[in-house]
Amino acid sequence: MNIKINLPNNDDVKENIYALIKILDEMNSCKDNKIILDFSKVSWMPPCCIILISNKVLELKEKGLEFDWIPSSNEKVTSHMNKLGFPLGSNVDGSSYVPITHILRNNSDRKNLGRKISDLLNKIIKKIPNNINGVSYILAELSDNIEDHSEYSCASIMAQYFPGKREVEIIVFDDGMTIPGIFSKNNVSFKNDSEAIEKALSGEISTPKLYNQEKGRGYGLRTCRSLSTEDFKGEVYVFSRNGVIISKHNQEKISEIMKSPLNGTLLCVKIKLPLKDIPFYDKVE
């Protein structure tokens, strides 16, 4: 089955993800034993899209599908995709980026995800000039949520530093239950999937009936968002099932419902590193 990749060819995260979900659905519906992805018309692909397609390719390969791809006629795009580890991930990091790391769930080794994230963290903090604690905090908390809540099969993570813009981008995707799915499972009410995401970002825990055991929870996403958008003046994108929440520094939050669901949760955090370290332990609530 040949699938043409049609994306907006710009940097707009939301536009790209909306377009990509249709492509992921096509990949899911493939009845052949081979998929060929045609990137020939792609002139730009943001990292969040590369990571999503990579995760889907890995999922389908695990199910026995063969995979191939037609690279973009734009060599820079193909080179970028290769460097970021498309599609099966890579151990070779670049001077300013840590490529896609896929982590398959391992129930017999509960320290596995932590070790992989630790490796990734060690690599990215070598590439950034300052605010190591802030970046570590964000990456660690986003990753912890995958294991703690999502019942994922495969998680995909990458991080990149843009020295010219002094920006760090962290992207985390899991193919698990989704935030609304977890809330439904635990009888936490919500009007729609975006409201579920907003509740999670505001610190609502997924297991309120266990509150006494759950004290000290609900801080991860909440503090990641406030740290990213207020202290680091950045942006946080969350796509989970049909919900979308986009939070940007000094801008109104965007809350939308997607027509087609994303089967999993994608978090994309972009932060601007100031010239000096922010007093991290004072800033975090």
Binding site: S118, A140, D144, E147
Partner: protein, 108 residues
């Protein structure tokens, strides 16, 4: 008699994910020795979730657990978690008084 465990040998220089810490405490709770010294030497960072889970597991454990060689960064994360519990008005677990000079946690 005590058993000294290097957390760096178990986790590396970063301690990340609640599951890792929960799994670790399950293992140490099965050890023969009653006193366990957790050596934080070379541990540069503990995530907030891990620090929270560590304190919960530490309180539940029947072992006598003592920390050693905790870096300021790690101490600061435990202090952060402590402040968050104080804001919640909780007295279940914490007042944790990190005494970074002696590199140990003290539960009040």
């Amino acid at each position: 008699m005590e058993k000294i465990i290097s957390l760096f040998e178990i986790f590396g220089n970063n301690i990340i994910t609640r599951n890792s810490i929960a799994s670790f405490f399950e293992e140490i709770n099965f050890l023969e020795k009653d006193k366990i010294v957790l050596d934080f030497n070379n541990v540069a960072f503990i995530s907030r979730s891990c620090a929270d889970e560590y304190l919960k597991q530490r309180k539940k454990s029947k072992k006598k657990v003592v920390e050693a060689n905790m870096s300021k960064n790690v101490c600061d994360m435990f202090s952060l978690v402590n402040r968050q519990y104080e804001k919640e008005g909780s007295s279940i677990l914490i007042q944790v008084l990190p005494e970074c000079n002696s590199n140990s946690l003290v539960f009040a």
